[in-house]
């Protein structure tokens, strides 16, 4: 004769086994669905390349301390921050070329991010009011770029002004530019050009062949 409590315990264990079996079956089904969904999202087509656009670069020249505008055709993303980084990357690629007129090692990877923020009202006056929608561009450079940058007032000033001018030429809403190195504020670029201040992009846009 089987005691009553053993019958109840057996029933509970049997019920628990059935519930666990159903749960495992459902989990298996979910995993299978996820796997199928992942297969559906696998890339089956090559990504479309963005069509090239005209970008204006303000390129420095050490031989006569000039800033010259050059128009290049390159693919630009729609996002303004990514677009700013792309044009600055192209500018620094030109400087990293072997026959560059303003040789600076580092290349396009020297700009890690460009943040676009609403521009604060610095120096705004009734005669020269801040334009609506004005933006402050915060350019984050790599420490290796700053460490390898040629030291000197002229080369550092030309680099800073060409970055400001290039941003202004491609993003007219950018009125102010600040610089970070590895996410931190730094006193100078390579011992001379002040990186603690806010640069006005309008001051950096040169005329063709103009001096800084």
């Amino acid at each position: 004769m089987i005691p009553r409590y053993q019958k109840i315990l057996f029933g509970i264990l049997l019920l628990a086994s059935l519930v666990m079996g159903v749960a495992l079956w459902q989990l298996r089904e979910r995993a299978h669905q996820r796997m199928i969904a992942g297969q559906d999202s696998a890339p089956t087509r090559a990504p479309e390349v963005v069509s090239a656009e005209q970008a204006t670069l303000v390129v420095a020249n050490d031989s006569d301390s000039s800033l010259l505008t050059q128009v290049h055709s390159l693919p630009l993303p729609a996002d303004t921050g990514a677009r700013a980084r792309a044009v600055l990357g192209k500018l620094l690629d030109i400087y990293a070329a072997p026959d560059a007129a303003h040789p600076v090692p580092g290349g396009g990877n020297a700009v890690t991010q460009v943040f676009l923020l609403p521009a604060p009202e610095i120096g705004a006056s009734s005669q020269n009011p801040q334009p609506t929608g004005a933006q402050l561009a915060v350019v984050n450079l790599t420490g290796s770029f700053a460490a390898s940058h040629p030291s000197g007032i002229e080369p550092e000033t030309l680099t800073v002004l060409s970055i400001c001018g290039t941003l202004r030429a491609n993003l007219p809403s950018v009125t102010q530019v600040r610089f970070l190195v590895d996410g931190q504020q730094r006193a100078t670029l390579a011992g001379h050009a002040d990186l603690t201040r806010t640069y006005l992009a309008t001051d950096a846009v040169p005329a063709e062949g103009a001096h800084p």
């Binding site: 050490d62 031989s63 006569d64 301390s65 040629p150 030291s151 000197g152 007032i153 002229e154 080369p155 000033t157 006193a187 100078t188 390579a190 011992g191 001379h192 050009a193 002040d194 603690t196 201040r197 640069y199 001051d203 001096h211 800084p212």
Partner: protein, 230 residues
């Protein structure tokens, strides 16, 4: 004893120097010469080596040597010179500006050197000119002096061109210069290069260094003459 000696000494001195005022009118004292002080700021120093020049020379050493040479030339011309450093010492930009502002100088020259570019680069502050005020912000104190700084750069430019050097004028943002309350110019000496960018005269050329210092001294003398004109 001590008081007696002093009393006798005073009597003797009075007797020797005492002249009746009515006997002979003393000559009118000549007006004191206008105080003319030049501040020489040898950039970098100490832990801040500055750029690395040809032959492994450091910018801080080059600027210190040029400052010493220029100081001698100016002193020989009767010009009082105040330097921001006379040794390989670290001097912060704010301290350099403090020294210059305390000297109330008529010209402040910040000396730099670089292997980039060609000839002599003359930089003035990129701050927008402003009217002098009783209280000015420290970081933009140079704004009230920008016009005079541009005039000083013009005088330096003329002297250097007269000495046969190529000169580039520019505006920049240097923390020390922007806080100075004097006509201030940053002078960056670079090698002389030919049209095909080949170095014709390096920074280690003693004659080149002497020529630059002589031209700068001549410019300061010219600047003093302009300053003393009514």
């Amino acid at each position: 004893m001590r008081w007696t000696s002093c009393f006798i000494a005073a009597l003797v001195a009075g007797g020797l120097s005492g002249q009746p005022a009515s006997a002979q009118a003393p000559p009118a004292p000549a007006p004191p010469p206008a105080r003319f002080v030049v501040v020489l700021d040898a950039a970098h120093g100490g832990n801040d080596t500055g750029g690395r020049l040809a032959n492994n020379q450091l910018e801080k050493s080059f600027t210190l040597a040029l400052s010493g040479r220029l100081q001698s030339l100016l002193a020989a011309r009767g010009i009082q010179v105040v330097t921001t450093r006379d040794s390989d010492a670290t001097v912060e930009p704010d301290r350099r500006a403090e020294i210059a502002n305390h000297a109330q100088a008529q010209a402040c020259l910040s000396l730099h050197a670089s292997e980039s570019g060609s000839g002599i680069h003359l930089f003035t502050s990129s701050l927008a000119p402003a009217q002098p005020a009783r209280f000015t912000p420290w970081r933009t104190a140079q704004a009230a002096w920008v016009t005079r700084s541009l005039a000083l750069a013009g005088t330096l430019n003329s002297a250097l061109l007269h000495a046969g050097m190529s000169v580039t004028l520019g505006r920049t943002t240097l923390p020390a210069i922007d806080s100075m309350t004097c006509p201030a110019v940053a002078i960056e000496i670079t090698p002389e290069r030919s049209a095909d960018h080949q170095t014709t005269t390096g920074l280690d050329d003693k004659n080149y260094q002497a020529s630059v210092a002589t031209a700068l001294a001549a410019a300061i003398v010219e600047w003093r003459m302009e300053a003393q004109q009514p």
